[in-house]
Symmetry: D3
Subunit: 257 residues, 6 copies
């Protein structure tokens, strides 16, 4: 039994203001989800590389602007926010009527179906505490066995090849000691090396960007309608000042209007 | 930017010994995942309709037999165990080298990306306590706002049309009071009505079977290799007696052999 | 034994863009903390009344701008962010070198010292889900017995007198049934009525604004130095674009410079 | 004040298909509970030594068969399932009308009354992840300070004397570092050495088999009736195919019939 | 296979200063544990009926005195503190070298082996909050579905017959709604009626005093030695003033001396 | 905007029977809270230095006596129990009508506003397990990253200068590894050195005694009335025997009478 396939329209938003990185992420995403028609957008203001709570706060606002601008003309099947700190995730779910995916969330929900306990590794030590909070909020306190930063584990690793080698060297012991049996790699620096790392450590390795696009496929497949009540419903019209026009409109007319 | 799509080979295993139900579930699954090439299998022994812990224990064994028999010749990209009690899920992940999906797990991981808190409804009251344990194990203790049984909420509802009408009538108040903003429908009796219920209640409704196939797509997309150590690795050769030959072989040679 | 007192310099930032409300909150705050020298600031952009995740995302950015501008010339002993959703709280703790207080956080830590379990009531139903997440993050999952919205409990109550009367009428039963023995009132609409409500219900009632200023006193008394490592340390210099000049400077030079 | 004693009729079921081990366990059990009249049964199919999720799935079915066969003629005061993975525990509680005891569960409930936090040690590393799930389900997430496998701690230890010596050597440091003040020993390989280990480490050591028989005494003393509603009540008549006749009967007539 | 039985020496300490109640409890205990040789003791100071935190604080001290006095001459196999608030439980475990049992703890560990979730009912509403804390500490937050006070459910019920009738009337609905499938009865007023209540509601009912004596049997059977390090070890010699001589001695010489 | 200040009447109760230590603690407290009018009291019986569960049980009773005696003539704005084990805290909240503060509780609520995760260090290893229970009860299981005892970390450190040096040496690594970004120092031996330790480690250090007085200021500022129902309300008249007259009166007439 087989059946025809459909093509999804996906929006990829980069939380960093670096447009070249957006292109690079899009290339990686196309490998991850060959069935998608991809539109890309870059945060219009903020930090060139997001890895602190302050960066995330600014990026969250910038991402709402970017999605509002990109979706003025086009209706997407889903949107992927390419950032491990989930900037603006809940807010975008309120303002827009297509599913919105966060990379940390998508990766954790994927990993939890592949191993009793998983670990997370990103590049910067500043992500550790932010990810701790996401782990708690998402419910993975007992499923996440460790959160690591490559810059602490192997400060000398700079290139992707060096990062891969470092992960293959240090992760097996860390995973065995912590009881994790799958590893999430997140953040631009560690994107696209999951297959090589997995080959080296013999346990499932989840690329957060790939997981994000795969989970976007789930949400598009489920075709959930916009929530018309409750926490992710549209907040209702409100007076706003000083906002980008496309974003301001999202505070004034319901999605779909 | 667009790219070609690939066709996944999926195995659907019905935990109930009712082969007609397997056919019916396969029909629903084809709607859910039009890109899959689907093989079906039915539990070779046990209860015609599984809804108690004792049924699940027998079904878990039967499902391992069914997967072992179905995968002797064919290598699948993923397997979906069509049962809300996840019979044999972890064991199948040990014995086989393709990802295995459980419906309750898949539905919860999907719902958690659509609402801060979700509720679950199945037909039989006996599922409530079993789902409580899965909610705890999967990490959704704070995310799952309520677990309901339609047979308690609306004992008179027998057909799918009656079930739909009953859910549209009783669920809005239950969801608002519990704080849930998405609803999972699970179990054969409630499969295939999510869209109608969603239209009636104005909040996302997740069909567990659809979620199962969508999450199978995630795991196939991530292409995780077999874990070669840790809890889901192959247990190693062991002496077994009294088992079906196909299953016994899985205890004697590593997957892929 | 007695000893002389000192005068604290506190910054009150209103997350709503309504400057008249800022003045009104300052008046209430002066009652709460008569020993403080108070500076006030208003969010320079965003919603006139914040009560959704989208509002909070914009307010978080606006609050960082407001604190950056207000603290250019003055060094404060502590800052109080007057909003129940804690917009920008962690980010402000990174960027600035004085303690920053959130109202929900301050109120919960105060209530937890007055009763085994407490409840929270604000005006809008949209706060409920956001407060659920804060309750989880702050650790009060087992201590918070209920989160209520007056607009759902008593939609007709508009004035503060009506709100007081409604709370006195409905809260005793809700608190007894939930097991809560203290009540937090939060949000501008319910600020300044705690004493009257307490007199009516016979259980401790915590005004979130008062708690915020009181906890600011705690943090000022503890005189914690700036964290020079770890999650609330300064993130380090980064390239930012499109930001308010005062805020941009906070991303470029360490606090105290 | 003293009073006469009564003699309990207990059923011991071995999850492993090794009948000699059943005899050996019965000998140990008689030491543990000298007041019991003991009947023994061995899993009729499955692995000779159970230590993976796949083994447990098969053993769960086999144990239901074994209990059904053993209880056809005899009514027991309680049944002890001699396996650390609790195969079939909840299902047996549904199908039969005498209390059923699991060794891991019994040992944890006993240890929790002897120390603020306890640790668990079994022989095989594969138990660790399965025990993690039981610890979560049973509620001991904050009470269980560590789960260890002797085969990882001391791979060279093969005999019981070597295991005892190894535990006395390595456990004191592990317990002190983890904060555990009692130790559970589980699995056939570590049965019967608790007293020697305790003498060596100076902290309470719980033999899981002894705890199982002691807790069976508790449940027999409480003389709980069969639950006639709720999760452990009899599931009701159902159509089953391909099952052992004694087990099939338990799906068709209520216990006690 | 059968074996001879042994006779345990148990100490029953009543936390209430009412000596007639101690005798009555001893009578109930003899029914519960016919194999024990029972010594009884009564709190030498404090409240005649303990049901508040203040009562428990005083009772905890009094119980240490009572155990110290009773154990001067006799070595017990275990001690049961007959009070639902566990006064002095951890402290007694430090000072003495025989196992000490608390009724709430014993009842919860017993109930958790009889049902996925249980409920607790005692007479006074003041126990509810104290039991909440014990439920959290003991790990039963997800296993305990409700804590009730008969004085709130049925204020008119005074005699044991009236209490039994009231429980049979109100509990079935409360248990079904909360998902509890076993009921703990605690406190002197509800001691000794478990069998009648169980007959009326068709779910297991645990008498806390019976559970206490049964768990004392478990701890006696396990024969754990005194912990010589860690939290329940003897605290070491210390200077104390103003204490009963028998208790003061326990602070000055190790147990067993 | 500034306003006049008021002077609080605070009661400091030392749980240790060492009156010289009470004087010394009062001196430290005056530094912490220069606006308070301080009354001091010492436990009238028990251990000269409290650091075990048995000590805490006796101290809890003694502290109720001390507060009852001190408050016979004077009405306090708040009371601070100077002990890390919170002896008598909940009971005092029942019996008296002014807020009562515990040092561990106050310190944790303060630290939780200064860092995502904190650690605790006291002198004696016996505090570790007791603090574990408080951490669980207060809700800080996920916020407290570690509990340490200086006597285990640096047994040779005896004076405050040596303790300071030892903490500066060992804490940075422990905090970084555990993810804690603030440190609580508790117990008399570590009181008064927070500023020096903070200067040495570059992360906020909370002195528990200072936090206790600061949180007492919060509770005094909130001016909560006595709870007239629920868990901290007055228990009501009861028959007590063998108690100090001042304490006995508190069991017989409501606070304020």
């Amino acid at each position: 039994m087989t059946a025809p396939t459909s093509r999804r329209r996906l929006l990829l938003v980069n939380s960093n203001t670096d447009a070249a990185m957006t292109e690079w992420l899009a290339g990686k995403a196309m490998v991850a989800d060959q069935g998608a028609e991809l539109t890309i957008a870059t945060a219009p203001f903020g930090a060139s590389y997001v890895d602190s709570r302050a960066d995330v706060v600014v990026a969250a606002h910038a991402i709402l602007v970017a999605i509002a601008q990109a979706s003025t003309e086009t209706r997407f099947d889903a949107c992927v926010i390419a950032c491990f700190g989930e900037p603006g995730l809940g807010a975008a779910r309120e303002l827009f009527d297509f599913p919105v995916v966060g990379l940390a969330e998508a990766a954790m929900h994927s990993a939890a179906q592949l191993a009793p306990r998983f670990a997370i590794c990103s590049r910067s030590t500043r992500w550790i505490s932010m990810l701790e909070e996401l782990v708690t909020l998402y419910g993975f306190r007992d499923r996440c066995a460790g959160i690591y930063a490559l810059s602490a584990l192997a400060p000398e690793a700079q290139t992707q090849a060096e990062s891969t080698a470092a992960l293959v060297r240090v992760m097996p012991d860390l995973l065995r000691e912590s009881g994790a049996a799958a590893l999430i790699l997140g953040g631009a620096a560690l994107t696209g090396i999951a297959a090589e790392v997995e080959a080296g450590i013999g346990l499932p390795v989840i690329d957060a960007l790939t997981a994000g696009f795969a989970q976007a496929g789930v949400l598009a497949a489920l075709r959930p309608g916009k929530a018309w009540s409750g926490p992710y419903s549209w907040p209702g019209h409100r007076d706003v000042t000083g906002l980008d026009a496309a974003l301001a409109k999202r505070f004034q007319v319901p999605p779909g209007s």
